[in-house]
Structure formats: C-alpha cells, structure tokens
Symmetry: C2
Subunit: 204 residues, 2 copies
C-alpha cells in the first residue's frame, strides 16, 4: 500500500434536500423560515428541523431532512438504495452539477413542487481547507485514494478533493458507502500519497 | 495498481434466510416443501418462492426470500442498512459462523420462530472451483484484493477465497457493497495478484 499523506474524519451524508427560496416558500409557506437543529462540520451548513416527502415513479421517501442554508437551486441527494425504492436512475454527481439528472416530486406541509431535474447520488469527495491542501501538495479537483481498514476494508479510488478557505477537512460519503466499509461519523480514514501524476490530474 | 490475476463475475446477495428443516416446518407447516423459483450460480443453491417476515426490536423486513436447499441451521443474512432498520448489530461473518450473533423473530404463514442467534452480515468472499484455485496459485482461505473501476471504483481488501469442487467462480457481495461500487449482477471485477506473502495468509 502507498504511504499515508494525511488522516481525515468521515462525514456520512444521509439522504437530504437543498431548497431554493422559491421552492421552500411553495412547500412551507411564504412566511416560513428554516429552523436550525444542528450545525454540520462544513461552516455555515446545518441540518434543519423541516423535512419533505420525496416521491418517485415507484415509491416514496418520507421525512427527508432539509440541509440549510437556502440555496440558489433545489437538489435532492439520495443513495443508490433509495434510487431503487423511488424508481429513479440518478447520476453520481458533485453538488450543483444537475444537468441531465432526473426530477421528482417534493411534498411539504403547505404545497408540492414538481422538479424536472435535481436528483443525484452524491459523488464522494474530501473537503479541505486551503492551508491543508497547500501543506499536502494537493489542489482543488485533485484525485486521491482513501484507505479504510477493518474486516470490510476498502480503498476508495479517484476521490475528488475540493479546496476552499471555507472548508474543513472531511471525507464525505453516503450511507451505502459507509455501510459497505462499516464506517461511522468521525472515524478517521487515511488519504494515500498519490502514486503517480495521473492521480493528481483534473477531474472530469 | 497490482497486476490482474483473473476476472470474476459479481453475484449480489440481497437479504435472505436459510432455514433448518425444523424451523421450516414450524413456519410453513409439517407437509410444506420449498418451491424452487430460480437456480443460483453456486450449484444446488436456489431462490425459493417462499418468504418470511424478519422482526427485530426496532423494525420489520417483509418478504425476505428463503434460499434453498434446507440447511442444518437457520441463518438470516441482512445488510448493514437492514440492521439499522431492525435495531440489531450483527457481526460480519462467513456463512455458518453464528456464535455470538444476535437472534430475531421469523414469522411465516403457519407459525413463528424465536431465534437466539443466526443474524449476520455476510462477509464478502469469492467462490472458486478447485481447478481455478490451483491454476492461479490460491488456496481455500487465501485473501485477495479485488478491483472495480468506474466513478465509484473501489479496491476491496482482504477478500476471503473459498475453494471447493462444488463451487463456481463468483465474487459474492451484499447490496450495500454493490451500491457503494455501482456494481450489478454478472459485471466482472478484477482479482489482483497478491503483492506479498501476507495477502496469502490464512483468514481468521
């Protein structure tokens, strides 16, 4: 195995929804406000008390948490397991890359929204503060391999590095990936030293 | 990456139950017989028409398929996702290794069974015919790494090799692992050449 470059804590994203101001008002009413329940590790992000029902052609996911703050676009992040239940075939995408993704119906306490796109499976990625990236010789959109040990030990290949002065170090995966590797929130994984130049090439 | 030793087809195990003759009779009646719906890839194994309800302290899984033939012991194989729904914390085990595993309640059309053990998360493994194992220098209980490509490409480490003249080549994973890697039945994965002696040591 390659050498370890750094260790990073795991953050597991359960299914969740980001809402635009327009959609939030349609679902919860024009006077409604998001209620913060818990700050997430990435600065400014929080789990809201409010939830919606996500409806697909074959099934329903109830009580899907909204993650705030309000965004410019509405985005539904589900696992592949969830996608089978809904009867959708969403692509694996980084946040905000919604072109060509399937839509769904969102239902809230006040109204419903019919989305023509916005359902994705989140592309695993590692958030990194600019200082960490410089220290370890990585850049925004670098690709790294990430090692986990244990009886379901895995090496996640081609993990996208996202760098910003607003980010805190965190390896973001979804519930399928966490369950496959028996990972839990705040466990640590090993980011491996890239073994060749290809591993540092730009994503996409 | 290490060189490729051989390629193997993927077999994804959904949640399922193996039943002893005694438990089958309690659940389906003394005269009942298992009805074969589909042969599985491993010789003699088949998906049955019959299913049971699996009940845990926090939840229920309905219509859980029975895999035949009848076995000497009852065993319930679920995913980690399922385990959260049931409220159980089963260990990751190879088939038949049930000591210390949690129990559950099985309910069938005629009766119910209270198990004091038998619920496991299946340990991923690769079935291999004796001739294949000889050809590739592997033994029963060798450990190998298995490579999958794509946008959710993984290397599964420490995959247990099981060798028998009754086995056909197949990499067995559960639904969490399949979803994490975007694998589907009969896709091919790459078994890597072991990079050192440790990779060939005995499991457990």
């Amino acid at each position: 195995m390659a050498d370890v470059l750094l260790e990073a804590p795991v953050g597991i994203s359960g299914r969740h929804v980001h809402l635009s101001a327009e959609h939030f008002a349609q679902l919860f009413g024009p006077e409604a406000q998001l209620t913060k329940v818990k700050d997430l590790r990435q600065p400014g992000e929080f789990a809201a008390k409010e939830s919606v029902t996500v409806v697909g052609p074959k099934g329903v996911l109830e009580n899907v948490r909204i993650v705030g703050p309000i965004r410019k676009y509405t985005q539904v992040e589900i696992s592949r397991s969830d996608s089978f239940k809904l009867g959708l075939n969403p692509p694996v995408r980084y946040s905000g890359d919604l072109e060509g993704s399937p839509g769904c119906v969102l239902v809230g306490p006040v109204g419903a929204v019919i989305l023509d796109k916005g359902v994705i499976i989140a592309l695993r990625h590692i958030h990194m503060h600019t200082n960490d990236a410089m220290r370890y010789g990585l850049k925004d959109k670098s690709l790294v391999s990430i090692y986990t040990n244990g009886e379901r030990g895995l090496i996640f290949q081609n993990v996208l590095v996202r760098v910003s002065p607003n980010f805190r170090l965190e390896f973001h995966i979804d519930t399928d990936e966490a369950n496959a590797a028996l990972l839990q929130n705040n466990m640590y994984v090993q980011v491996l030293v890239p073994t060749n130049a290809a591993a540092l090439s730009m994503a996409g």
